[in-house]
Symmetry: C2
């Protein structure tokens, strides 16, 4: 996934008039020249500005180095459109040259017949690679990795290692060789050589003297992608080796894919804490009825849980009848409980996601939030009481609202912190304890507390 056109990245726009002019006047050599100056991702992004014939023409004019990267950056509809308008040998060439992970993504969306046809066009090794990558479940290291990498044996000398890199690069100029992996004859991972260590080393130094341990940075093929992201962040990695269960090197993961994982995970947490089932597409591309469902689901759960608040009020029917003014402060009371709960739940859920807080911190966090709740509760209760006094000139009522609001905020902060950690402990997703859900739970308890406090303090009830 590439980021969308943000306001600061507009290389294509600069060249657009020239491109359109060359197209109109059929100056194709000039056009090829212009195209070579535009980063492939920017061209892909402005692709919608061209009509179908222009697209085919431009695509055929792209330089060999650019064409694969450009193709990889296109949306899948556009990839299919081009494939339908190119002859089989062009399609085969692109398929064979695509980065294995991008190619697997393309195959994921293909209808069965096209899938089979494309596989038949590809070299045997590449086709097997696609099949293998597609077996990994979405969200695992295997599904994120790419299978383009260079392996060295530990007896090799630095000079021959560099020659091997030359050779590998001449086959695949997009190969990432910043880190190169050392394996034994069964492809078992032995260690990693940094390219800069290699070029610095004396020509006849054996690789095993340059290599470092890869034990702490290697990831298992089935490791969940968010754990892989943790390893990357922890060790500041640009690239990590992926190994099979029996410790054989089967792929590498690069940091650009990890950046996407980090953003995706954060977006999912944003959705969950707002009580939305995770949507896997950008907002404007998401299906409308899918969005309706993903949001209505939680709204319906919440309306059912929240209905308990109506029972609490009905149960206190007589109290309300005796003092109607009590109802005036019901919204403010439950809103503040909800707000404090949202604050607390969101902060703790994010801290859990970042690893700043863990299950082992349960008691410390809950204690801290309760204390925070006391401080915030008192502050807000004072403000709330003043508002009540200004409206009703009944200091006992002010006291009732203030005390209830304070207790409510303490309760909200405590539950908002505790429930997500308990969820994590139960191996459930802490972000399911969304702000709205915490708020709803607090609403019901908050009203019970309110009427209890009122009955204790107000003589009229």
């Amino acid at each position: 996934m590439k980021t969308k056109n943000s306001d600061n990245v507009q290389t294509l726009a600069l060249f657009m008039p020239e491109i359109k002019e060359s197209l109109a006047s059929k100056k194709f050599i000039q056009l090829r020249d212009i195209l070579s100056k535009i980063p492939p991702i920017d061209l892909a992004e402005g692709w919608d500005d061209f009509i179908p014939q222009e697209k085919i023409l431009i695509f055929k004019l792209l330089s060999v180095e650019f064409v694969t990267e450009f193709f990889e950056s296109l949306k899948s509809e556009e990839q299919e459109f081009l494939f339908n308008n190119l002859d089989d040998s062009n399609v085969a060439q692109i398929l064979n040259e695509m980065a294995p992970d991008e190619r697997a993504d393309l195959f994921k969306d293909l209808p069965e017949d096209v899938y089979q046809k494309f596989l038949s066009l590809m070299k045997q090794k590449e086709a097997a690679d696609v099949r293998k990558l597609l077996t990994y479940e979405e969200g695992t290291a295997g599904a994120v990795m790419t299978t383009d990498f260079v392996e060295l044996v530990k007896e090799m000398k630095a000079k021959s290692a560099i020659l091997k890199l030359h050779e590998s690069l001449s086959f695949d100029h997009d190969l990432d060789i910043a880190s190169i992996y050392v394996t034994d004859e069964t492809h078992k991972l032995l260690g990693v050589v940094e390219l800069q260590a290699l070029i610095k080393a004396p020509p006849d130094m054996p690789i095993e003297d340059i290599m470092e341990s890869a034990d702490h940075i290697k990831v298992n093929e089935f490791m969940p992608e968010e754990k892989v992201a943790h390893v990357f962040k922890h060790y500041d990695l640009n690239i990590a080796p992926v190994v099979s269960e029996d410790d054989k090197l089967i792929g590498v993961i690069t940091v650009d894919d990890i950046v996407d994982v980090i953003e995706k995970e954060a977006t999912e947490d944003f959705e969950k804490i707002a009580a939305v089932l995770p949507v896997d597409k950008p907002y404007m591309e998401a299906n409308f009825f899918n969005l309706v469902w993903k949001r209505s689901f939680w709204l319906i759960v919440l309306v059912v849980v929240e209905s308990m608040s109506a029972f609490v009020l009905k149960f206190n029917n007589q109290t309300i009848h005796n003092m109607l003014a009590l109802t005036f402060f019901v919204p403010i009371l439950i809103a503040m409980g909800g707000n404090a709960g949202t604050q607390s739940a969101t902060i703790i859920i994010r801290s859990l996601a970042l690893g700043d807080v863990g299950v082992r911190d349960f008691f410390r966090v809950v204690f801290r939030e309760s204390l925070l709740g006391v401080c915030m509760g008192i502050t807000v209760a004072v403000v709330g009481s003043i508002i009540v006094t200004l409206m009703e000139s009944n200091w006992l009522l002010s006291l009732v609202v203030g005390i209830s609001m304070g207790i409510n905020i303490i309760l909200a902060a405590t539950l908002g912190a505790g429930l997500p950690i308990i969820f994590r402990r139960l191996k459930l997703d802490p972000a399911l304890m969304s702000g709205p859900l915490i708020a709803t739970i607090v609403d019901v308890f908050g009203l019970i507390i309110y009427f209890k406090v009122a009955s204790l303090i107000l003589p009229a009830l």
Copy 2:
């Protein structure tokens, strides 16, 4: 900032018994050996498990290659502790060798006298570098960049370029040379050479034939860090050059720092949408009263705004008196408006941050959210009406609650989408339009609508 010990990264724990044993039996050569197997960041993370004497001893035993990286990974209190227990020559050595960006971070927190003392210990060039980096405002490219990089001139041949890299690496083995920059005699940035293109090139090829344009990837020293992150994500960069206003190369930014920026920006958005002023430290390290203030601030704003709901209820005093059952459904009504608003605001704020939605999409987004609101409103209203009918057996009242709830959800979805985009348009932070704030606004309008609908439908009023 490094991530905390997550459950999968526990290299130090494995070695801990051995380390403690070597310390106890004073086997320092064995200890030095064990230490060389532990990644510096893992050692830094478990640092609290050692007593002060052990810390000093272990630090002195660390290998030359590790010591700087280890030191950089420590918390600032621990850095200061070590500096207080090392002699000046050791301090000077570490200060001179630290990565410029990490070093500037250290200096930021120092008291004036220590700051001056440390500067005086450093080489003149390095000291000037610290002073320069500290002039950048937090959150700009200049404050994130490091000043360690290699410059080449365009007339240089590939072979001499590689020799120059050898030489630079022997001074600074942590130098990132995956991309090397080409400048003219005034240090103006001309282009970039990828290390793999360099090692692939024939030895006598001039650099200018290997170099590519850096125009689209270079960032200005004052560019806000979130824009820099956009450039990295857009072009899948591992490293980018930073240039001054007059296009001179002054530093580089590496992707590990950008990963931190992305996480920090997301965390700030989490805090803002939960109505918390941004806290710049991990949860457990944040100052307690600072947290109280950062959360109470918004709670007080919200309690004041929310107090309008009390006025609405008081104004409809007589209506409530005539039909007490109306109040039973006040919490459910306002909660559902709040929930729908939180969903909408959160999704749109996140989409704005990711660049999936922009100011130009205002009408499309608001229209889409209104339509979504209609669909969700009808669904939830039906469920809500059923609950009311079950409780009160008054189908007119069910109708009132259902209609109000539906209108409320539509209003909430529309405001939740529209207000953040309007904020962005006004160059304000969209995330200030937090879920709680939208909920509060919707509460007040929601109640007005409720009583209006009630007065139109219920004959008893």
